[in-house]
Amino acid sequence: MSDAVISGARIEAEAGARAFLHRNPAVARLGLVVLALALWELAGHTVLDPNFLSPPSAIVAAMPRVLGDPGVRSALVATFVELVTAFVLAVALGLAIGLVVGLSGFARRATLPLVLLLYSIPQVTILPLFVLYFGICAGSKIAFGVSHGIFPIILNVVAGVQSVEQAHLTAARSMGASRLLTIRRVVIPHTMPSLFTGLRLAMSATLLGVLLAELYVSTGGVGYYTRIFADSFDPPATFTLVAVLALMAVVLNEAVRIAERRASFWRTHR
């Protein structure tokens, strides 16, 4: 009797599309996305005003035209370069500052409250100041991006340095290591996990900073083109621009995530 019960349960469990979806939520998710796109397409041909919104097909059709424009291309490339530069700078500066602040108890007590104070200011309000001081070229956008991305790094590195177990430091000292060597061999490796955790936040923040600045400056770069396309009621072009930027963001986020996973594969839970 129990065999029949078991086989009955097995059959029931494996059959049916419903069960398949149940075991593969990713497929269901994909299905939802496809459904949403389909509805958008439908709405685009029936309900939506072509002056304000376009269906996906129109966007795809407009892509060659928009991306073919050398001005648009250079603006997008410039934005990408700014993003990468700002991120790298934020990480480098953040790591340096984080180490200095974290390693010295005095420095930490003196400066950490200031870091947190600066972090709590809504940076969007001082965006005009950045543009005022750095001009309307790439410098202000990179600077604004760095100013956003640097904080998660500093905070994470400081936390990482502080979490180095005293036992490890004592062991190093008992083996005769100098302070510099201890930093190189003990502190920095221990800080890496925290740094990598902060990378993702830093990338999000940098993306926000650079893109905000780009959109704000309407006389050049991406901000110029968003304004032009909006003024000339060219929704497919706007969407194309937005889509490429979104893609950039996804790619950069993924890159950071892969780097994080590669760096942490050896780390079992401590």
Partner: protein, 294 residues
Amino acid sequence: MRLVPVPDVTTQDAISVADVSHVYVRSDEGVVQTLNAVSLNVRKGELLCLIGPSGCGKSTLLNIVGGLVSPTAGEVRVHGHPVRGPAPKEIAYVFQENTLFPWNTILDNIKVALEFQGVPAAERQDRAKQAIEAVGLSEFANSYPHQLSGGMKQRASLARALSLQTDILLMDEPFAALDEQTRTYLGEELSVLLAATNKTIVLVTHSLSEAVFLADRVVVMTARPAEIKATISIKAPHPREPNFTTSPEFSDLRNEIYALLRDEIEKTVGGFVGRAAARDRERRAVAGERRPKS
């Protein structure tokens, strides 16, 4: 005159479990059978203990009786009615880990339970207070669970279950998370309670001492898929004195149950000791054969 045969003892039974099997599917294990054609009856007013190796399915059986899980085959009846889901008016639960709501005081915890059961608002305060007094926690009625010790929390859980005034109490290893002293003490209190009320209690436990001390009958279950291996009756009346545990009868019962359980435990734990011993014996046998008789 024809003698009408007396109907089966079902009218005396609070709970009857008939041929219950349970199977579930897990993505990593495939199809797992937890219970195999288990049948038992629990008489009104008795305390029945389910004991068995870890993970054998005793908790599943309890949950099936309580209507929280559906059996794959077989039927459970409570007071003669088939069980189709939770029966809050007839069955109350006490779980192992603390399930008191941390955001309510003890008193409020019990009042909420009464609200769930459908008791009118006017009665809740009094019944809650009575239940708290019955377990000796009146001082802590307005404390929060995190302010209480483990033993007190379980007493509060018991108070909550008692306040529901059900005929049946299902307890799933209620004292397992407590230290031995508190455990023993609460066990004695439970015995007193049993004598005072006429509740039917089904208690799942790992502890042999607890089973022998508390139960009117002990049901020993096999390893997964669980079946009933044996049922042992314990005649001592409730409330049982603490010195019952030192009586020879107690040790005998305990040993008897352990003997029944041992094989099942070995099956579950993997028989490390058994296998090592067997390997040892084998090795010695081989060595003995090669050694010239001296």
